[in-house]
Symmetry: C2
Subunit: 238 residues, 2 copies
Amino acid sequence: MSKRIEVCLTPALIHLYDITESIVVVIDVLRATSSITYGIDNGAEAIIPVAQVEDCLSYANQGFLLAAERNGEVVSGYDFGNSPFSYTKEKVGGKTIVLTTTNGTKALHLARKHAYQVVIGSFLNLDSLCEYLKAQNKNVLLLCAGWKDQFNLEDTLFAGAVVENLRTSFAHFDDSSVAAQDLYALAKNDLRKYLHKSSHSHRLAELNIEEDVQFCLQLNICKSIPVLEGEKLVRLTT
Amino acid sequence: MSKRIEVCLTPALIHLYDITESIVVVIDVLRATSSITYGIDNGAEAIIPVAQVEDCLSYANQGFLLAAERNGEVVSGYDFGNSPFSYTKEKVGGKTIVLTTTNGTKALHLARKHAYQVVIGSFLNLDSLCEYLKAQNKNVLLLCAGWKDQFNLEDTLFAGAVVENLRTSFAHFDDSSVAAQDLYALAKNDLRKYLHKSSHSHRLAELNIEEDVQFCLQLNICKSIPVLEGEKLVRLTT
């Protein structure tokens, strides 16, 4: 098989792609998919992504942790949001977490409808993810969650990191994967510095999540690849 | 006014932007907006963009030239398609052309619904266009026509050229304008070479339009800015 890699720059464009034979990698590096990766790596039994804040509530009183973020902040009354520091071994080991976020869970729900498989990507598990994708006889769609359906730099940079890694193992690349790889090449020596160019950098600064951002830009501190099985994200066993 | 510049990477995302106070620059550099620029610069009285090939026919027998392109080729029975070499002084001087193209006219029709003003951009009129945009007290949306609603490199590079030019005259830039400018900086020394990376380069080669491509990548051989007035593109008088 002559494998294809494509980058979908925002969830609003996913209808353009035939993903029935593709592994879709959902990317929302600041912060949903980084926290999911870290949580699964730290022994969370499962993470259940739900679309609406209200949907989380229907899981109350079942012993689950409830995580809800909107516009970058923890929703009042929930256990936590999507800061990776909430997904430590002590907090999530053995637990199931029900999670809703502004962009990440929306992208997940769009992808699951048609994809062959849905996995989670972040800088934290870059190498493990790429090794897995290389070994499968499937196309890959890198789905950037973006910000409210708009293009964003951080998710595109991660897509570019994956493209760079897979360049010699795949045969076909679309224009957005070429662009993503070139942008990553510009940014890779100092990802944090590059992201200061982002239109979101003011928003990030206002949220006071600099530690989270620094954490999410670390490469390969996790080995796990979260995979969607039914309605749950669990650790992929390869 | 603190002016804003945004890049809409494909027409499928235009609903995300509030363009009521924006000048929208429609970009389809290979080849529609280059040919439109060249035709207007060469004295065409007007170019009427229509959505469907069939719509062109309703203008037959009115003394108009009919131009129709689909998937990069002239539609059989039409005077010409969107090769810039069809838009010379000899062929279009004093004439009105009715034009439909795969991506460019679609983008135009989407933009006209809500924009403050719609103008046409191409490498051929880059400097004139940028001088005009600097002098107006309006926001700017650079609308890349892309390829069948997907991101493409050539239109994004042109958007980046405009962003580079306007960088010091505007205050707010979205993430896609940052990305476009950085990609243009990588490509500008040899645009043609950079575009060989494109997934469309095979398609372009098959169409046997290398001369067209080289022509469309020339900077500043035209002074005119085509502007949409009612249903017609005419030369903007400033």
